[in-house]
Amino acid sequence: MAQGHAGELEAERNDVRDDGRRPPRAVVGSHRIEEEMFGRAFDKNIVKRIWAFVKPYRAKVYVAVAAVLIFTATQLVIPLIIRYAIDHGMALGGIDLLPLFIACGAFLLAILINYAASYTQETVVGKVAENVLFDIRRAMFGHLQRVSLSFMDKTEVGRLMSRLQGDVNSMQEFLETCVLSVGDIALLFGIVVVMLWLDFRLGLLTLSVLPVLFIVRLFWLPRARNAFMAAHETNSVANGALAEAIHGVRAVQSMDRQQVNFVLYDDKAHANLKTHLTAARYAQVMVPIVDTLTGIAMAVVIVVGGSMVVNASLDIGVMVAFLFYIQRFFDPIRSLTLQYSVMQRAMASGKRLTDVLDVKVDVQDKPDAKVLSPDMDGSVEFKDVTFGYNPKHPVLKNVSFRVNPGETVALVGPTGSGKSSAMALVHRFYDVQQGQVLVGGHDVRDLTQESLGRQIAMVLQEPFLFTGTVFENIRYHMTDATREQVIEAAKAVGAHDFIMTLAGGYDAMLEERGGNLSLGQRQLISFARALVADAKILVLDEATANIDSYTEMLIQKALVKLLEGRTGLVIAHRLATIRGADRIIVLQNGQLIETGNHDQLMARGGLYSKLYNLNYASFDDIPEEELQASAQSGSTT
């Protein structure tokens, strides 16, 4: 992967414009190129997977196919009826109206059947396709709720969203197309058969244009497909860049990148324009060809058929029917080639969907997983835990510690030392590579994730709020929590006062990700959310990092009662935060290097005491050598 990016980056460098306006390192939009747009038109495995989603509706699909065949049959019959009427019911000066009436009666019947069939087919297919679309989306969404976080870490939300929207939609298109194709193929065969049946020689002659069309299409298709693919791709690239501009607009403005980005975006938009024009050219070039072939076929019927009529070897009605068929004849061919690329696109989408559906759920409940009872003691224990996001680069190495029931233990250590990762393991966001994590005396891998999650409440390092009211955000999934409980939690974390100043109080709507609150306020709300969850173990990952010590102290006091009998795991860089902890664990580079209470650690004079002293050392207290050393360690090359 890294290889690919590096390669791309080089390419961009070489693309520096002569006038030097193109910045070497600037890109807009995602770095990665969209995956394959078109797959093979038919891929058995993928079709099988998709079929699994259609299967529940298969009775309906059969009905739809039957309806489509009936529909096609009526379409074929109508010109025949007209032919019958012309040949048998319209003798000049004739008086026998019966044949004409028969013809018209048959016609009426045919169109009634046609009506019923088209109604059935379109309704059934339309609804089934919608259902399948929603089913696939639900399956994917459900799956994403279970896949391991390491997959989610690597995958952009935008990318997943395009799976859940774009790709799923092209599946819907695919299903509708499939049924239509059946009709089109039937129509094509029907027309050929009927034409040959009406008059074999004339039929054969007329059909002789077909191979020409096929050959032309054969040449046209791969080129056209490339053009369509390019158009599709530039489109998603441009849209991706737009999405990035929207999400990152604050960063863009604060670094004044608008001009540069605009120039870069213009390139993408312009490429989009160009590829679309090319694609349009390819799409349209077939029009005169098909029309000319239609013209030739009609000319053949007129000249050959006409002279046959003159020689009385052909009914005039047959000639009219032929002319009718010819006009209908190219439609299915045209739509079949279109459907072909729809299918290819659908296969590619299907592939991407199955890729998501197949992402392995690494972290999974064992078949005999136990339910962690709410009465468990709340102890947490790490036994020789080794863990790395990439197994080759462990971020925690042989870490062992135990948090007794009701204890509050603090994790400290330099940034990137693995504190947040350790907390993620308690919750079993990831599985350890070696050792064991025990909660309430059980290995977390023996517990159901659901019951484990219920007993652990986390305040994550990064507060995330949902669009909705303050109340809904604090209550979150505890839908039976009362307003009083919510308010109590908010009061405990000192959020109540500011919530009351919002227009609407607890019912004030939060903007996207809580953008109309200050970061500290967001953190308080996410803190309150953890309190409402009412769990045995509370994990606070920098829960008060963006909150002043005074407010923090008030929270701590308020929490004393709330947290009685609960186990606490606290991460903080501001060491004053954790002074109340029963025990402090110091991590460095993924290793546990010290443990003990504040006084013991201070007495030891290790990393903790150093960090602690720095915490309130003023800038000028640091010895010059240390500054030198640190400046170097930061910028060694």
Binding site: R25, S30, I86, A251, V303, T415, G416, A457, K557, R574
Partner: protein, 622 residues
């Protein structure tokens, strides 16, 4: 109007000019505006419409030719004229037909191509305009508009406007030609039969328009419901850690199902509306065809018309079938263009709240003195709630200002006012005596850099992220900045080094690494004022010390503002401001404030003096 905001931008390929020129007057209706935009490409429009007219005419002559050929064949058959003459007549018809077909094909191609080309050019211009506008609209706008809605405007609504020319205007010309002339020809050939043949037209045209308008209305509704659904999905995926942390997958599925069902129900209803309509239309078409057959047949028998004429009628009907159905699509296209257009132009015409004053000059920095003079502020969307009140302070070059205060007291807001992310509502902010509202925005933002509290990282390499504000920078400079921020060693340890892709909100970096990346990115700029908004909260004290010492040099010739909760981050500042409820309640150096024994001293004690006695002391007091 949008022009002044866009005016300062480079105008690649002059595309924006077209959009702007067309955006006069709000009162004029949207379709006229789109049409005008289309006519900015006069040649292509002329070709498209010219070809349409010719193609339609040619198409209309095909049934006539066919009918003639049938008649020729039959009359020869019936009348028994000389074979050679008949053959010749047939050949002429056939060749004529071939020529007409080919020409029609060519003109249809040109019609479609140029119609699409106009659309794509409009699309290109609008894309640029949209992008430009979105980039320029100020923070207060983005605070209020959900990003999903902007994406909808920039993608779906833009499509609607783009398609207007080919699916609306050109189709209108085509349909007018085909239906109008077709009807005239039919009626003039045989009034009764013509009326019968056309009897389906009004019904179908009416039904199809009504249906399309209904579908249109439900489409908007569906869009609304789908956007709820996608918000549920997007927030779920974006906040997946919260979802997992609270084991609330079941709850999230419930939310999803509710939104999904809502959308699905409507989608089903739309299928019903659509199908009911198309089936009825096809039926009515065939029904008039049956009538033509019945009455036409009798006329043929009565010798009033020839079989060829009947064939002409029937062929005409097949030709008319499509355009008549398309009336609905055309109506839809107009409706779509006007709703989409109103939203799109609503965005493009949006007043940019923060922009250069008409006579703005570039900022000139000599001493680099920053002054807040009695600044008051309230966020535009909650104007009744003052956030800052009479904030005044001054900082000279080389000085450091520290700001502390409880959450929501207005610290970040102060930081946001200096680069004019928002405009003050009272008082003024000056840099070297120049009111920041009187200088150009570009020069101001170059002079003021903010390390934001909640930083957004771009999905690209670490290198590109660091160089975001200075994409021309030399590699060494990038490494130096990253060294200052104490990130260099970490990056070297990564398998792909500086080419490692980080992204979204930087999930695969630890909190402190992300903050250091943001610091490095800001160090690349060469500002006169640099603001650290709580940007070392997730960094341990030792690393922070190293960053600070590395920055010593950097801080010498600029104003540094540090917002922090850890007092060691700012106790060395030349002046410390304690902000509470939007007011500066204490100010002075660390020593002054300690001596004063107020709010600041309380913080200090809480952080420095361990033990319960402080807790109790202040706990009682608070």
């Amino acid at each position: 109007m949008s022009s002044e905001a866009i005016g300062s931008a480079t105008k690649p390929r002059d595309a924006l000019a077209h959009v702007n020129a067309a955006s006069w007057g709000k009162g004029l209706n949207i379709l006229a505006r789109i049409t005008r935009m289309n006519f900015r490409h006069p040649w292509q429009v002329t070709f498209a419409i010219g070809s349409t007219i010719i193609a339609a005419t040619l198409q209309l002559s095909i049934p006539q030719l066919l009918g003639r050929a049938v008649d020729q064949a039959q009359s020869v058959f019936a009348g028994g004229a000389a074979g050679a003459v008949a053959e010749q007549a047939l050949w002429t018809s056939a060749l004529l037909l071939l020529a007409v077909s080919t020409l029609r094909g060519l003109f249809t191609m040109s019609q479609n191509y140029f119609a699409e080309a106009v659309g794509h050019h409009i699309g290109y211009e609008l894309r640029l305009a949209c992008y430009e506008k979105i980039q320029r609209l100020s923070f207060s706008f983005h605070d209020q508009v959900h990003s999903g809605d902007l994406i909808t405007i920039g993608m779906l609504d833009l499509e609607g406007v783009r398609m207007y020319f080919s699916t609306g205007l050109v189709r209108a010309v085509l349909l007018f030609m085909l239906i109008g002339i077709g009807a005239y020809l039919l009626l003039s050939t045989d009034l009764v039969l013509g009326l019968l043949a056309l009897s389906f037209v009004p019904f179908v045209a009416w039904r199809s328009s009504v249906t399309q308008l209904t579908l249109r209305a439900t489409w908007l509704d569906l869009q609304e419901r789908l956007s709820v659904l996608s918000r549920v999905m997007e927030e779920n995926l974006g906040g997946i850690r919260v979802v997992r942390a609270f084991a609330s997958q079941a709850y999230e599925m419930l939310k999803f199902d509710r939104a999904s069902k809502n959308a699905l129900d409507l989608a089903h209803e739309r299928v019903n509306i659509r199908v009911r309509n198309t089936s009825a239309m096809t039926f009515s078409f065939f029904f008039s065809m049956g009538l033509v057959l019945l009455f036409g047949g009798r006329k043929v028998m009565a010798g009033e018309i020839s079989v060829g004429t009947l064939a002409t009628f029937l062929t005409f009907m097949t030709i008319l079938q499509m355009p008549v159905r398309q009336i609905g699509l055309m109506v839809n296209s107009f409706a779509r263009a006007s709703t989409c257009g109103s939203r799109l132009f609503g965005l493009l015409d949006m007043e940019v709240a923060i922009k250069d004053a008409p006579d703005a000059k570039p900022l000139e920095i000599e001493n680099g003195t920053l002054r807040f003079e009695d600044v008051s502020f309230a966020y535009p969307m909650a104007a009744e709630r003052p956030i800052l009140r009479n904030v005044s302070f001054e900082a000279r070059k080389g000085e450091t200002i520290g700001i502390v205060g409880p959450p929501g007291s207005g610290k970040s807001t102060i930081a946001h006012l200096i680069p004019r992310f928002y405009d003050v509502t009272g008082g003024r902010i000056t840099l070297d005596g120049q009111d920041i509202r009187d200088v150009t925005l570009g020069s101001l933002r170059k002079a003021v850099a903010v390390v934001q509290q909640d930083a957004f990282l771009f999905t690209t390499t670490i290198e590109n992220n660091i160089a975001y504000g200075d994409p021309w920078a030399h590699e060494q400079r990038i490494e130096r900045a990253s060294g200052y921020a104490q990130l260099h060693n970490y990056v070297l340890g990564l398998p792909a080094g500086y080419k490692t892709v980080v992204g979204e909100r930087g999930v695969s970096l630890s909190g402190g690494q992300r903050q250091r990346l943001t610091i490095a990115r800001t160090m690349m700029l060469r500002p006169s004022v640099i603001i650290f908004d709580d940007s070392t909260a997730a960094i341990d004290a030792a690393t922070e010390q190293r960053i600070r010492s590395a920055m010593r040099q950097f801080a010498k010739d600029r104003v540094t503002i540090i917002i922090a909760h850890r007092l060691s981050s700012l106790m060395h500042a030349d002046q410390i401001l304690f902000v509470e409820n939007g007011e500066i309640v204490e100010r002075g150096t660390h020593e002054d404030l300690l001596a004063k024994g107020g709010r600041y001293k309380a913080l200090y004690d809480l952080q420095v003096r361990p033990g319960d006695e402080v807790l109790n002391e202040y706990g009682e007091a608070g």
